[in-house]
């Protein structure tokens, strides 16, 4: 595939006077697991709804799998699997009927529908519950059937809008494993979430938006450099002293903050400097009880970016 799976240029959507998505430039290459991050109301769901044709952009271009995708484009949707945020399905249908009727819309044969239905219900943990009405499903089970229907047609692009929302911790771990499984199948996953840990564990690329504006788009490694996250080392000593404070301040790795016997070093380097710090503390007569690294991850980067934009 020589074109990006998703490419938007200056994509804009307003609701009245409020700009929900503001000149969004987004590129998702094939076989990426691309996380789409932003606080509530950032414009994530609006962007996704434009990608799947539920909303029409006000301006800008939107290409999916190399084709113009703005508006009602069934041919593109044939190649996309989409799971909405908190999906709602017809309550009178059973899980099996839902997958069967959606399979018909994808033009799947009867045999193919039957096989995929059984396979997907098992995959999402609903084996044995396929003949129950969706109206009787719990919120978590509706999320699971939502994931199953998104994967029904073996789509080239899977778009998941907050797939873990409403799930218990076990369910969240299972969803993460499912996403990892999808990627192994060679599909591209575009996946919105406000759970940073989830994105960090699952995605290799990330785009962060806030107030409809793109704040960052790149690899997870890039984001730590771009956002200059505040990495910290927190030392708990047996007993604090001025000598130890002076020894730590003399180190060229950043600034030091002391409170009783706890010293926090705000690092300005990405190197592993724990040995140097340990030597400095010992040299000043201190005894380290605990040394813990904090920050430096996606959460700090996200907070820095969103904080700057706010």
């Amino acid at each position: 595939m020589d074109h990006p799976v998703i490419q938007t240029q200056n994509l804009t959507k307003s609701y009245g006077s409020r700009i929900a998505v503001n000149r969004l430039n987004l590129t998702v290459e094939a076989k990426q697991v691309h996380g789409f991050l932003g606080p509530n109301g950032a414009g994530k769901t609006t962007t996704i709804k434009m990608l799947v044709g539920l909303l029409t952009p006000d301006s800008g271009s939107l290409r999916i799998l190399g084709m113009d995708a703005a508006g009602d484009k069934p041919k593109i949707r044939q190649r996309i699997g989409y799971m909405p945020e908190l999906p709602k399905f017809p309550k009178h249908l059973t899980g099996e009927e839902l997958l069967d009727v959606y399979g018909r819309m994808y033009g799947m044969s009867k045999e193919e529908r039957r096989r995929k239905t059984a396979e997907l219900l098992k995959m999402v943990g609903l084996a044995g519950r396929g003949r129950d009405k969706i109206g009787k499903y719990s919120k978590g089970m509706q999320q699971r059937i939502g994931i199953a229907q998104a994967l029904l047609s073996d789509p080239e692009l899977v778009i998941l809008d907050e797939p873990s929302i409403g799930l218990d911790p076990v369910g969240m771990v299972e969803v993460r494993d499912m996403v990892k499984g999808i990627v192994k199948g060679g599909q591209t996953v575009f996946f919105s979430s406000h759970l940073l840990a989830e994105v960090q564990q699952v995605c290799d690329h990330v785009t962060i938006i806030n107030n409809g504006l793109t704040l960052f788009s790149g690899t997870l490694e890039d984001i730590t450099n771009v956002a200059r996250p505040s990495r910290r080392l927190v030392l708990e000593l047996q007993k604090g002293s001025d000598g130890i404070l002076q020894a730590l301040k003399a180190l060229p790795f950043g600034t030091v903050e002391a409170r009783d016997n706890v010293y926090t070093l705000h690092l300005n380097t990405t190197d592993d400097v724990r040995a140097d710090i340990s030597r400095a503390v010992s040299g000043a007569g201190g005894v380290i009880l605990k040394m813990q690294e904090e920050g430096g991850g996606l959460e700090d980067a996200f907070m820095n970016l969103v904080g700057k934009a706010a």
């Binding site: 769901t45 945020e85 009927e97 994808y106």
Partner: protein
């Protein structure tokens, strides 16, 4: 990967029909109303001979039971059947949020709309076909051989089209408001408004031209003329969209006969009727069919336009 599938328009359309039938057949209000209408039709069939028997009157076979069924089943029944069948068809999808996964499947909005309308039409046709078969079998069984059975299919189509006028109004209001309640109450408001206004117009001014083009019962025509000082009761029937089935059947049977529309006026303290207009049954039926189709086209076009433009902003 099984990505190259036979995805043509027909597959999508049939899938939407299947999706709709799975829903329609499980709507409790459709089943409830169907049972009610079924019970009423049963009473219509069985009550007269039972009463005759109870009163010791010898049973006189009525060979027009089936034919008259198409004249009797109108008004509120058609409206209620239309509401029960279609009040959720589009608005229900918006209310529950199931429109979101539906519109992200590889079926165009046009196909979804067409599928839903076709499913509504076929559901109504199915309901009426069942009732018609029941009435025909019951009529033959209780009353003996029946006249004009060859016109039953035409009556069936007429009944369905007549109900589709109300159904398309219900669908239009549902698409515009995205609320089943608004669609049901709004269309009931229109129905009762048209019925009351038609009644008042008919009582005060007689069967005026405006009634020819109103949905519902429309103008009442008489095959026996307009008497002085009184309204001829014999051979009168409604000629509006609700009575399309009977009008189409009359067209085939008595197309060249004249149908008179009477007006009222006050003269020296008394009310008298006069001939306001008259036309052949064929022309009146043709106009009725045209008016029915015009309402259908206008309501469904507006509904389609609103559906095309609908954007799914909020998650339900």
């Amino acid at each position: 990967m099984e990505r190259q599938r036979r995805t043509n328009w027909l597959n999508g359309f049939l899938a939407i029909l299947y999706y709709e039938f799975l829903w329609n057949l499980r709507k409790k209000k459709i089943v409830g109303l169907f049972i009610l209408v079924f019970a009423i039709v049963t009473l219509e069939l069985a009550l007269p001979p039972l009463l005759d028997y109870y009163n010791g009157v010898p049973l006189t076979p009525n060979s027009n039971v089936v034919f008259d069924f198409f004249n009797g089943l109108s008004g509120i029944f058609l409206f209620l059947i239309a509401v029960a069948t279609t009040m959720n068809t589009i608005s229900g999808e918006f209310e529950t949020g199931s429109i979101t996964p539906l519109l992200t499947k590889p079926v165009s909005k046009n196909t979804v709309f067409l599928g839903k309308i076709t499913a509504s039409f076929l559901t109504l046709l199915g309901i009426y076909a069942f009732l018609t078969v029941y009435v025909t079998l019951g009529g033959v069984l209780i009353e003996g051989s029946q006249n004009n059975l060859q016109l039953v299919p035409l009556g069936l189509v007429g009944l369905t089209l007549a109900t589709m006028v109300w159904a398309s109004l219900v669908i239009l209001l549902g698409t515009l408001s995205k609320s089943s309640l608004v669609s049901a109450l709004g269309s009931f408001g229109v129905w009762i408004g048209v019925t009351i206004a038609g009644g008042i117009l008919g009582s005060v001014f007689g069967q005026t031209t405006i009634l020819f083009y109103a949905p519902g019962n429309g103008a009442t025509g008489s095959t026996t003329g307009c008497g002085v000082g009184r309204f001829e009761a014999g051979g009168t029937f409604a000629t509006g969209t609700d009575n399309l089935a009977y009008m189409l059947m009359q067209w085939v049977l008595n197309g060249s006969n004249t149908l008179n529309f009477c007006g009222f006026r006050f003269r020296m303290g008394a009310t008298e009727t006069f001939l306001a207009s008259s036309d052949t049954i064929a022309n009146v039926a043709l106009r009725d069919l045209g008016v029915t189709l015009a309402y259908l086209v206008v309501f469904l076009f507006l509904s389609w336009y609103a559906f095309r433009r609908a954007q799914i902003i909020e998650s339900a």
